[in-house]
């Protein structure tokens, strides 16, 4: 293995690791202003929205309808079954059929 590549990877690892691990060691007492607590609690939903739209709908450039249809179907399965694995598998299966 080339040493300079190892240096590159270690560099990438360090700049990835520090922002990821820092929050785990920030004491709750210092952490945050009460005003930031609310948005941080709502962040998961905002993250999901931004992660799905628009990329999730545009995965298959040659069959644009497939991913919206499969994702909506999977979301419905999860809605009624409250079972995330089942929702994911339904989506994959439907995608496989539709593609």
């Amino acid at each position: 293995m080339k040493i300079e590549l190892l240096v590159l990877f270690i560099g990438m690892a360090v700049v990835t690791y520090i922002p990821r691990v820092f929050p785990f060691y920030s004491n709750n007492s210092i952490v945050i202003d009460k005003r930031l607590e609310k948005p941080l609690k709502l962040l998961p939903c905002a993250a999901i929205g931004a992660l799905i739209f628009p990329q999730g709908l545009l995965i298959y450039e040659n069959a644009l309808l497939v991913s919206p249809v499969a994702l909506i179907a999977g979301a419905l399965v999860t809605w009624f079954s409250e079972n995330i694995p089942l929702g994911i598998f339904s989506t994959i299966l439907l995608t496989f059929i539709l593609l």
Binding site: G11, N28, A46, V77, I88
Partner: protein, 238 residues
């Protein structure tokens, strides 16, 4: 052996949930293996990248930078910018259940990804350091096995199968979205706002993609505070 494995998985939801989510990591990691090999990385070098960096999209971006003649510093910088969002996600995870994540902190931080964050932040009842660790470990294993597979096999997974698996990660986001909306109808507003902002930002392309994502998340969550009282934020995944 398989029976024992089945029993273990059944008893252990951290492993089961992790395995299901990791299904989506595999084909993407394979693609990374293929691209890295094409760029000229050896199997050891490619695996090393996945093993010590473990950062999905930014691994692709780093190779993209190198392919286009960028320096190592450029590659590291783009990695940093792309993964800055995990700082925000980690903070959010701590606010949501810090008391429950006291052990394995160095590892939980190392394996924090968009996928494990969204899943873990919306899971309440089962949450513990061990649950989170098992869940994340499955994603880590899948990512690394996928990388090796891509490197060795090339893109020999049938195209249609690997294409169908690509939707798995988005399927998880969609499932989580579905449950969170079922729990609190107001959540759909946050999801829609963040999604709309991200779509617009992506379209106008003034900022880099990683900033687009970070800004959409922040603005979505900020606006959300006007119509949701987080005291009522309930558990989504049991």
């Amino acid at each position: 052996m398989i029976k024992r494995l089945k029993k273990l998985v059944k008893r252990d939801s951290g492993l089961l949930d992790g395995i299901v989510v990791s299904v989506g990591f595999f084909p993407i990691a394979m693609a990374f293996g293929v691209i890295a090999k094409e760029y000229g990385f050896t199997l050891v070098e490619t695996s090393m990248c996945s093993l010590i960096v473990f950062a999905g999209a930014s691994q692709f971006a780093a190779i993209g930078v190198l392919v286009n003649g960028g320096s190592y510093i450029d590659a590291i910088l783009i990695t940093f910018l792309m993964n800055l969002r995990h700082f925000l996600m980690g903070m959010s995870l701590m606010v949501i259940h810090s008391g429950k994540l006291k052990k394995f902190k160095p590892l939980l931080g190392f394996m924090l990804t968009d996928e494990s964050y969204t899943f873990l932040s919306l899971t309440h009842k089962k949450m513990s350091s061990l649950f989170a660790l098992k869940f994340q470990l499955m994603t880590y294993i899948s990512w690394n096995l996928g990388t090796v597979a891509g490197c060795i096999l090339g893109s020999s997974l049938p195209l249609k199968a690997s294409q169908s698996l690509e939707i798995a990660l988005y399927a998880m986001f969609a499932s989580l979205a579905s449950l969170s909306v079922k729990n609190d109808k107001n959540n759909i507003k946050i999801i829609a706002i963040a999604g709309a902002i991200h779509t617009i930002l992506n379209h106008i392309m003034i900022f880099s993609p990683s900033w687009n994502l970070i800004m959409s998340m922040i603005i979505g969550a900020m606006l959300g505070t006007y119509f949701i009282n987080p005291v009522n934020v309930k558990e989504v995944v049991n």
